[in-house]
Symmetry: C2
Subunit: 317 residues, 2 copies
């Protein structure tokens, strides 16, 4: 069943003891630059450094005792893997993590640091899924998909509820879209709480499967997209797509150059670390500026996990 606002409230109550209530920050120079009032919901400061911990926590703590005892498993490009590993540790159960071998060193080390047991695979969806099946055969662990799971979707929606509790009169909420867990959860929460609100997805132009899928009316997966926003390389899922079709106004795409400059701008002016996937939503403010003039815009800053030894503006030189 598609989560309702009530399901998202219940998820919020379930995960409340484990998550951070993240701050909502503003940045005067950003407001001046875009001609809008922007409110940054700092999920980069969430545990494991990303909103993903909300959904993972909701899924892990929703399991029955019998299910949980066998452990959990997932395949992920990084933040979801960290999130599952930490949530499992908090519940005291094992986490078996299948990760693509091109995931960043920081992410691999952090998953291991949270006690996750990692199995590496090729960086394709097929390899991830077949490797995970093998893990499940060996351990009996419960699979928790990074986004195509209603418990995950409900958990991700809790960030929008917190944002709207703090800033009730938003005109628009922007969220990045990869697999669509955050965007669909945000859309259910926001449009249920504030019927007039507009929810807009933001996506790298180089991984614009959500944009194309909404236009086509069916899921059109990305094929090995090369965007720097590594959290957004995944394609929409069967569960997230219909929610997005129903509740999201549109998808705005953002060029790689704008993603990088938005990321650097937020580091320099708002003084917070955001990862490229978060910067996509900020970059949309610039690339599609006329959509936002004079409005009150909430942005879910999805995460802040960045390899500080390999920054995009240093690599350019």
């Amino acid at each position: 069943m598609i989560p309702t606002l009530n399901d998202i409230y219940q998820a919020g109550n379930r995960i409340h003891p484990y998550i951070h209530r993240t701050p909502v920050l503003t940045c005067t120079s950003l407001n001046r630059k875009v001609g809008a009032q922007v409110f940054l919901k700092c999920e980069n400061m969430q545990k494991v450094g990303a909103f993903k911990f909300r959904g993972a926590c909701n899924a892990v703590f929703s399991l029955s005792k019998a299910e949980a005892s066998r452990g959990v498993t997932t395949h992920s490009s990084g933040n979801h893997a960290q999130a599952i590993a930490l949530a499992a540790r908090m519940r005291g159960i094992p986490a078996y993590i299948v990760m693509p071998d091109n995931a960043s060193e920081v992410k691999k080390a952090t998953v291991a640091g949270y006690g996750g047991m990692i199995t590496f695979c090729e960086p394709t969806l097929e390899a991830r899924e077949s490797t995970q099946k093998q893990v499940i055969r060996e351990t009996g662990a419960v699979a928790i998909h990074p986004y195509n799971d209603y418990r995950i979707i409900a958990g991700q929606g809790t960030a929008a509820i917190e944002l709207l509790q703090e800033v009730p009169d938003l005109d628009i909420i922007l969220a990045p879209v990869g697999g669509g867990g955050l965007l669909s959860g945000t859309a259910i929460a926001a449009t249920s709480l504030s019927p007039g609100i507009r929810v807009i997805g933001t996506e790298p132009l180089m991984a614009d499967d959500a944009y194309r899928s909404l236009k086509a009316g069916k899921i059109i997966p990305s094929v090995n997209p090369q965007t720097i926003a590594d959290g957004l390389r995944t394609s929409l899922g069967e569960l997230t797509f219909p929610i997005i079709q129903q509740r999201v106004e549109k998808i705005l795409t953002v060029s790689e150059a704008k993603i990088i400059s938005a990321m650097k701008y937020i580091w320099e002016r708002a003084k917070i670390i955001i990862e490229p996937s978060s910067a996509v939503a900020v970059g949309a403010l610039w690339e599609h500026n006329s959509d936002f003039a004079g409005l009150r815009v909430g942005i879910i800053l999805s995460g802040g996990n960045v390899d500080l030894e390999r920054l995009p503006w240093s690599q350019k030189t």
Copy 2:
């Protein structure tokens, strides 16, 4: 007259319309690492990216109309210069800024961006002072010293008042010490508000003039110190030293390696951008860990102005 708590409250009222009330953040992994409850007062998110805006704003808005009409001038290694330039623009008066020619490009560009008129000089205190005298002869501007000024000291103390309003039961407040404006203002505010509180200064080992001055009972200036914490290369002033002698328990020194690793740790785990001068206070938690075990520690994170193209951990490779 040495500022009283009341002077600091008055400064707070005076600058309230112009400054940010900055957030106080916590970081679970930092708390676990140091075995203390740490509260980070984020002056890196203050306007111009540093606490310096508080003092500058108090000084600029304390001027009589006649004084203000001639404009203001200062010599500074960066953040104070930006602060004076912006405060002057807010009051609608000119700011003449004397800067050492080795100040970072980011800081130069930002001062100019705030409308400050820059005169460059050699990076010595003597050159700064003689150049400023010349500017005053030419313009009649009022000099506002970066720290040796009671209006500045009172303004800087407002950060500690906000921190203690939010977290009243701190055992210790840590602040970095360069010229001593922040530390002396913090000490007046904190020891007046919470008589049992301990105020401790933190300083780079490579620029340990405050440590040596307190031991000697007289000001012993640093001579061309080479620390990465460029905001702390200045030496104590005649007005700040007696306040620190009276109200600060001690000065802890921190090695360059600990400053850099503390800075990177806060970026990675707390997801906020702090400059090396702020990292000195965090590094003290590690280098002098036994001082803090089990206590509630407030840290004034002094600023977040960093040249993102030249990070200390990239330069090492």
